[in-house]
Subunit: 298 residues, 6 copies
């Protein structure tokens, strides 16, 4: 496997903001700001990082590559400019959604269902990718943006960030992940319902207190540094441990505790047979930083 994205230069790593999309992508900029860390940047700032047709398939391609990339052990997802995302690019997408092909209602519905399922996959790939994804949100995160971030593993935001489950405002029930993942992302069901039913904005302090994000940072630069630090911490640990943890955390959300324990035992019966255990233990005894321990790729 050869990977299509190239390692970004040092200076870029520091700013963590690319000058433009990484070909062949036109909406995503991809770089490797640190060892074993991949940075994916949604890069349509002039269009408020709205999600156009091509974005939905580029995300799938991008995260499938990341899932297969043995060098990548953690991902930072962010968006260029001052606006995280304004959500779906209505102008680009309206045709497909509003006028599905089909000779009668049944056939139009069939076609519509295919379109929805395809778009759901765009964010489910984030969850299916075994490498943890840290998402960093600045400014507005609207509509499909909330669907996107709830499929990520760790959420940070800036003080000026706000979140809006916008879909009811435009006449539809959110159908690519928000209604499915937000309730298990935050602790207050009353709040989930209020957000989804009224489309009111939620600002960073409430996002923090309700648990949607686990940290609020003063500005975008600080936030990206924090996101990077978390990613670097994760990437420094045994990929067997880290990816097994993500897979089993996702599993346990959707199963009973007893089923999840059974799956976990079946998972770890082989995963405990790794040299990473000894390497990690030795590092601990020698007070060595895990970043200096050379774990094999997974």
């Amino acid at each position: 496997i050869t990977f299509i994205y190239r390692v970004r230069s040092c200076r870029e790593k520091m700013t963590m903001s690319a000058s433009g999309p990484t070909p062949p992508f036109t909406t995503l900029s991809i770089s490797q700001p640190a060892t074993h860390v991949t940075h994916v940047e949604l890069h349509r700032p002039q269009k408020y990082n709205s999600m156009n047709k091509v974005f939905w398939s580029e995300m799938v391609e991008c995260f499938n590559q990341i899932a297969e990339d043995p060098e990548c052990r953690a991902v930072v997802f962010s968006a260029a400019g001052k606006i995280f995302t304004s959500g779906v690019d209505i102008m680009d997408m309206a045709g497909e959604i509003l006028s599905p092909d089909g000779d009668d209602t049944a056939r139009k519905s069939w076609q519509t269902r295919h379109i929805i399922i395809k778009h759901q996959k765009t964010f489910s790939v984030i969850e299916k990718c075994p490498k943890p994804v840290v998402v960093a949100v600045q400014g507005p995160c609207i509509g499909a943006g909330v669907d996107l971030i709830t499929a990520c593993d760790i959420r940070l935001c800036t003080k000026d960030a706000w979140f809006q489950v916008k879909e009811v405002d435009v006449g539809l029930a959110a159908d690519v992940g928000t209604l499915q993942r937000l309730p298990s992302a935050i602790g207050s069901r009353s709040l989930v319902n209020e957000l989804a039913l009224t489309a009111r904005k939620m600002f960073s302090d409430e996002a923090m207190s309700c648990g949607l994000v686990s940290r609020v940072l003063p500005d975008k630069e600080t936030m990206l540094t924090a996101a990077m630090e978390i990613a670097v911490e994760i990437a420094a640990r045994s990929p067997v441990a880290v990816q097994g943890t993500k897979i089993n955390l996702v599993y346990s959300r959707d199963h009973s505790v007893s089923e999840s324990l059974d799956y976990m035992a079946t998972w770890n019966m082989s995963m405990l047979q790794t040299n990473d255990l000894m390497k990690s233990a030795q590092a601990a005894m020698e007070k060595k930083n895990l970043k200096d321990v050379p774990f094999s790729n997974l």
Copy 2:
């Protein structure tokens, strides 16, 4: 279908407190304080709004009507007077619960099970009704009151409100919804267990920080206004969008994410074929308030 409740007068709308139950109901007062909004008031203030035999069936009748009423798009539920509810009206209910009919223990148990299931339905109708229900709690909310409010969608309370899972104090495990819905309503399982096992009171600040309510208001009047505003916001939006959102939020609580996404896609394959999309989009472009958009009834 003709609906039995009549539209309340303007003044009543403002105070949102009826002078008495709406016939044929004897425990509920029903009004339409705003377009597409129904207000249901538990109205036994002289009896601390305790739930007597007739209340349990009136709730079912009332919410079945609301579910079928095409004019209603959002519901506010509140209680008359200073006490939200003292819970079950023991005096009125004891006979049925303590002395079930039956020639032997099996038959008494059979009868008891029927009674429990019947009472569970009283609150499940709130959840099954596709119109969102905003509940507003002042003063004490005790026992079955907690079962009731956890079946509502959005919870507000006054500063002087407090909540008590009272059932262990009277010798039984809460069996009409609290043990089933409270854990997914709030974020701390330790707190859920403490409340349910010790019957201690939880005051409004803790109710806010744990997520049981999404807003605390200074007094009942302000709270009712806030509840009404939320209901009006919801009622202004496309009923196709709003009711699809509620139905899918309830669905996703009880299913895995992948099952919920599948259901959502199957739901929206037809629900996206609505004029509300275009109407909503146009309103957005014209900066028109959604309250001025005439969505068809559902």
Copy 3:
């Protein structure tokens, strides 16, 4: 049934700290500091209360006894000394985990799975025991300590307590309960993921705000008193009500609301046929303290 632990002396009750393990146990000290309350203390302070081989089976034995003990109605679990637990006693356990028996990988995996399942049972017995367990955490609670406390019902901690999902640091995915129970214990999924994937410490204030614990106390003594008070409150209530509540709360975590309501109705059809209802009601009317009501053992 005769129970192997003896009632501790009065002074011990007050300090709630035993001078050593209760034979035949070597890692647990067991006492009855109040009527119907059992205190289990993890007692290897000189070894940081690390969990050695014998601990894992003593826990099972201990909680099986507690489950069967009609005198016990509530449990306090705490740890001797200043450190709640440093987690697994690597020195004692490494052999079994790192060198499982077996002629080939399949057989080693088979053996490893047996070991994991056995260790999972150590904490699942806490959950399967119908008597509520209040856990009190001081200082560090590391690795398997988090697995342990998430299987308890009510969590308290001291101001100096901190929690660490340590497993990724030592090269493995946590496999005896944390990844399965932590997500439903606290309200922020982003935080769960961050803790499990980075192994960062979480201090008491964050543990409180995220809902892992329901109370933070200034020091160990105050905390133990608070834990004891909660346990005494629980023990004073009808054991039919209390144990039915725990069993149904655990059930509803793992089932849909409608399934849980059905189970609850089937449970209570017999459990409502108890004298405890009348005794509790009478106590309420006579303003009697429930602690003075003599409920029969269960």
Copy 4:
């Protein structure tokens, strides 16, 4: 409770074929041919027992009454004349299905969903009724007829009976029970698929060998006698035992074995406390026929 159907005369019992519907029903004839046995006959022979609008609600009313009727312990369901049923009465139903109300596709779909759910309930009441239902099929059993019989507990047919999952022939997927219940009713999935996808007729011998029916009888009269004998056998047994058996058989179809065992234990913890155990045991010892044992009603 007073029941609306009257006990039929002796002669009618023997022929088990009513001269006409039992008022207020217009499509069902109801009688009590034997102690504790209710006979429900679909009675529109002149219309091939096709299911018109009123039938769908009469079934619900009828089986709700049966569920509540303490005198009824077993049910025989049959159809008047030579044809069991030709399925839906298209002429009477087409309007509702083909032209649902609604201003746009979403609203028409919403309305259609309500109609489907309402019709699903017509057969689900048979399953929810705790009294076992023996169905006896002669001649053609087409379309909705298969939905109906798969919701019954025991199926008999005559030699000349045949079954047809007709729905694909008229342009729709069967949506009131066949696709949900037929697969667990018979043992060959290949056959289920073939029947549902090709709408081919299945004759009585194949219905027997695949397990759809448990007995084939030479003619209608013999079959009704056999059905009646089974019902009488069931009605002679303890209603606590019989109805608990049906409820738990339905439960176990939809749950894992371990969940079903748990439910069963919770069910029987009270249901074993019945005098029927002693009465049954005594009858066995005294070689008495169970039909002579006076079990209390349930």
Copy 5:
């Protein structure tokens, strides 16, 4: 581990019928008639192999030993004499079931539930034991006998065998496995219901055609030989393959196909790393009998 049963003599192996129980068991006779095959015989022929109190716990002890015994790879279960079993030994068990301890109905129910769960475990151990169990039934197999055999993996019977779900006849719903396992054991739901609701006898030919047994043999001796041949075939194969097959077959009965495939992949990711693959392949190429391939114990 030392195992309590001794290898039977050669002659006994051939007859496969012990002269009496194997101490310390009093109801079970255990032998090793062939390499890696354990024979468990229910041995109370003078009491019609009825299941007395001690039987229920001996089964658990016995199958727990078998599960842990690395030498055992397949089990034959049969019963001494001419009657497979008459079911529960009422005389010995009645006290416990009919007069549970407890001061009120709730407490009696609690106690009853414990008793039921304990008895359910007696047969669930057969299913949890990863070694396949072939059961051989002659003559009557009544009541709890059906619960027992449905927990076994492969069922054979003699021509004179008959089966009876007897529980409704004695006033209770079968609660130790039949209602949970019989429906997935055979292909006709109508037949399951008829058997469970009427308690009628099912003879060997119907047991064969409905799939309850997979072979009918002319007499007990022939049947035991056939059972032994099957067990020997199983025991000759890789224990990694065989036991993984049983575990995953039980798993897939209780889960969706996609969940079961996921579990299977997670299971086999280590289990494919076995020398048994190469040994088996080599045997195939060399046309060697698998019985001559020395697989390591598991």
Copy 6:
């Protein structure tokens, strides 16, 4: 979309046996023997139709194309020559399975899991493809062949066909579908277990009586004609009806009846809004053959 396979000539259609694979496929021959019917033939007769590396990905490509092909409404799957399939092509596949990449056991297991999941998908695509698949089996169908056919919808075989769950013979538990789908395909669990645990051959008569196949035909030519007739019947019906039927039959296998009914209602709320209903009804009234009704593609 352009489809890579070309329509075969008339003569080929009649014999239904291609002279070789259809480029770019090397193991599959694809043709359109009748309107709306696609014929997929496994075509490696000289290698006993064993499944080599390329086969596993060609199947995915092929069925993904079929799923998207609006012209295709039914599929016949068969195999060239006299042997349906000998299963996995060990020579071609052994390397990947026996020597997975990876520096330690954990990494080898990770790799192995990926390989298994990839191979599971090869047969799951058949099930996910909404067009019904009729499979026709002649001669031996071994190992992975059983995994393949259990993922098809309708199974036919010749008199000389036999089936063998071969995996235990070669040292592994079957992991690409047999253990997951066979139990719900046939009615006797004892037989499923016997087949999977002993690897004994099952011949056509037993395959018929247990329900694995729904028809046995005398020879391959007759069988292919029968398969084609079934496919033609299916293809003649409304694709909205047919594909909705398949999707809901697969759904109901993996969900409870009440969940499946809910999904069905949500599915059909749009799918009933099809012109196919009217077209089908009209054809019925005019006694027209459905093959002459021009349904729009789906």
